[in-house]
Amino acid sequence: MWNVPLFPDRASSLAARVDVLFFVWLALATLVALAVAVLIVFFSIKYRRGSSANRATAPEAVRARRDRRIELAWIFVPLSLFFVMFAWAAELYYEHAAPPGDAIDVYVVGKQWMWKLEHAGGQREIDELHVPAGRPIRLVMTSEDVIHDFFMPVFRIKQDVLPGRYTILWFNATKAGDYHVFCSQYCGTDHSRMIGHVVVMAPAAFEAWLARGNGAQTMATRGAERFRQYGCSGCHGANASVHAPKLEGLFGKPVQLEGGGTVTADERYIHDSVMLPKKEVVAGYAPIMPSFQGQIAEEDLLDIVEYIKSLHDAREGTVR
């Protein structure tokens, strides 16, 4: 009980930058609140009823002009300050919105009331996330039921985790340690027990952890199995006779849509193509794919997504 932290640890590349923003705001807020408080106290004493302070006022015209100037000052000084603070915070937010290209993907599924995580190598974790320090980590997250939120205070980031779509959160951990993960979007009875740890390790230790991991199969291997099991290969496989879009090399590429428009084949696109196939039909193909909504678990679908990504990787000749 007597361990009383007043400020959270900083363990990501972003944390210090958010903290600077916070401290500048804290200084500004303290300044304004103190100025108001000091003025109120000062006036309260000086102009208390019965005091002998001089209350003679300037002629109306002079006073009106002076008041106008004062008013303009306290409109435009805060306004320009606000623009600066807005731009600073928005720039940081915008900059952090796009993960770097070399980030390691980890997949997160939230469900009442636990976090299930899976590494590309097939290692699964529950309520724990092991990551290496100094490498950007990109979390691809979805929920099996209600809205959750993956919050890591020491990294100063959070993101809602929604059913039926993927959201992305990324960070670059800088300091080894064991830190809190909280679900910060109220999700029902055991919301406050939907907590976990993020364990930041030195890269070598992390490699050792991965190697010891329980990933008998990589996610892509498992995805290939699911791909057959759910009958995807019947149309999208190499020997299929049905006219279906080819998936090799698809990931990350632009896709022309029936009726105009282009989308990038990212995780969201693959997810939606399986769940809501009529939504974005590839140009030149008949809308014959059935929806898998309610038939495939989000975790299995993530395996398939990783499998389709690996098809891309094989063709490009890169190693994941």
């Binding site: 007597w2 959270p8 108001v36 109120i40 915070a89 039921d145 980031i157 809190h180």
Partner: protein
């Protein structure tokens, strides 16, 4: 009260219960509202007390998780819709709008009574759901949890809130028409007291925003009851659509809580500083600006929801803009003290406390409007502290200030000024001790709505709970000395504060018809300095 005057005041117009329940006198309806919202305030307060008791220890040991979730939901639902939103408008507003503009009553007296009955009907649904087992969605009813996953009485509570919304709409329509059409001769728009401006701005929000809440709750009911997919993606819906609709109402609803409080503070500060309000016109335009821009900032509740980052930027910018008129008001209140002749009666202490707490609440709101910072702070105790500074430190403090200021007018009695000052100071310190530690907890990362929490957060939570017990005494005290004054208080006379508003030109308590002779207004409001001796 002597027998000779009894029949002439609105209080003497009838003594049976039915004479109250069937009265269309705006002043008696204000009393009906005052009694009802006080009951709801203490029910909501009881829930808060249990929440703070549970949070004294990190483990969830006082109540179960289910019960805890129902407690904070009922606390939010009752405090927001059955206390804060109706608080100042339906009590002080109902009582004062006709008096301040020199009218005999509101434009639609029966509609006014109907709005109270709707309020009670909505309240009964909510209390009924509470007795039947409660609801655990949070006052925000986020989907798809509220529609497809919660096993509690969601529809009953949504129905209660749906109904009470119509009470707000009727009050809003009544105020708008009354302020437009029933001003006494000479009461031009820019001679209106700022309290009237704040009621006008709040009424616009009541009328424009509340229907959106009604639709949203209706959609929840049809998804939950009939399985029509609106918000749940498993049924083909969109959960973010709910958040957009909900906050389109609920952000303006926050301004409906604070605008009336600003009106009250303006009346009190000018009176006890014996000075006209600094920059009257800016003060009037500021409340309108807040009401209008307030409709365009709802997305700042959704920076981490998966909303587009570009939408996030627009909402962030607009949220900074809406802070400008609030800042102007704080500076203007401060400037009103300059060269005044200030006394520190209880209403003034509440009003000055309001200015201080509102300033802190407003400034911390800017932290949250800052995108990258909100990503860390969203849904933590920082947010809890911020909005309690606005709506408890701000709105409730001003409500109490207003009750103390107009109590002599409403009841014709004087309460104990010493006890009242003591209560104001107690509330101020109790409030800060309760909610300031929550800013620190929030930055540390403690999420909202947590039944259990990591042990390192305990000391700050204990401080917060200790503050809450002081705050509770601060809120119970006025109940005692105000009731005491009804029986033992000295007669107030028409104008104990030597205040300038029209409401003070008629006897206390006012006669049923408000003014024996319709007043004619010949000067700007707050002509205090002109009549000051030295």
């Amino acid at each position: 009260m002597t027998a000779a005057t009894a029949h002439r005041t609105y209080l003497g117009a009838g003594f049976s219960l039915w004479s109250w329940l069937s009265s269309v006198d705006h002043k008696r309806i204000a009393i009906l509202y005052a009694v009802s919202i006080t009951v709801f305030f203490f029910i909501g307060g009881a829930a808060a007390t249990l929440i703070r008791m549970e949070l004294i220890t990190p483990a969830g040991d006082l109540v179960s998780a289910e019960t805890y979730n129902k407690l904070f939901t009922m606390h939010g639902v009752i405090m927001v819709w059955f206390f804060l939103i109706p608080s100042i408008p339906s009590t002080l507003g109902n009582f004062l709008v006709p008096l301040m503009i020199g009218a005999r009553d509101l434009a639609f007296p029966r509609l006014n009574l109907a709005s109270w009955y709707l309020y009670i009907l909505g309240g009964l649904f909510t209390i009924g759901a509470l007795v039947a087992g409660g609801v655990d969605t949070g006052w925000t009813f986020y989907t798809p949890f509220s529609t497809m996953f919660s096993n509690t009485h969601v529809i009953a509570v949504a129905a209660g809130v749906f109904i009470v919304g119509f009470s707000s709409i009727l009050t809003g329509i009544n105020f708008i028409v009354t302020i437009h059409k029933m001003r006494a001769p000479g009461m031009t728009w820019f001679r209106l007291p700022l309290f009237i401006w704040s009621m006008y701005a709040s009424s616009i929000i009541f009328v424009l925003a509340t229907p959106v809440l009604a639709m949203t709750l209706f959609l929840i009911a049809i998804e939950r009851f009939f399985g029509v997919g609106v918000f749940d993606p498993a049924l083909g819906g969109d959960p973010l659509l709910f958040q957009h609709l909900f906050w389109f109402y609920s952000h303006p609803a926050v301004y409906v809580m604070i605008l009336p409080a600003m009106g009250v503070a303006s009346e009190i500060i000018t009176c006890f500083a014996r000075n006209r309000v600094f920059a009257y016109r800016s003060m009037a335009y500021a409340v309108l600006a807040i009401a209008i821009i307030g409709f365009l900032v709802w997305g700042h509740h959704m920076f981490v929801s998966g909303q587009s980052i570009y939408a996030g930027m627009m909402f962030s910018l607009l949220s900074f803009l809406v802070a400008i008129p609030s800042a102007i008001k704080v500076f203007n209140w401060t400037a009103t003290l300059y060269k005044g002749s200030i006394s520190f009666d209880a209403p003034m202490l509440y009003a000055l406390g309001f200015v201080g707490l509102f300033t802190i609440g407003g400034m911390t709101g800017l932290f949250l409007a800052s995108l990258a910072l909100d990503v860390h702070l969203h849904d933590t105790y920082f947010v809890v502290a911020h909005f309690h500074y606005i709506i408890v430190g701000g709105a409730v403090m001003a409500f109490l200030g207003g009750i103390h200021f107009w109590w002599p007018k409403i009841t014709g009695r004087i309460y104990s000024d010493g006890w009242a000052r003591f209560a104001a100071i107690l509330v101020f310190f109790g409030f800060n001790l309760t909610f300031f530690p929550q800013f620190i907890l929030g930055y540390l990362g403690m999420p909202r709505r947590y039944h259990e929490y990591p042990p390192e957060f305990q000391v700050l939570n204990v401080l917060s709970s200790a503050g809450a017990s002081i705050l509770a005494i601060g809120y119970l005290l006025p109940l005692a000395y105000l009731f005491w004054s009804l029986r033992y208080g000295a007669a107030a006379g028409a104008n104990p504060w030597r205040a300038k508003g029209l409401e003070w030109q008629t006897p206390s308590p006012p006669p049923t018809e408000n003014f024996v002779v319709t007043p004619v207004i010949t000067e700007a409001p707050y002509a205090y300095a002109e009549s000051r001796n030295g």
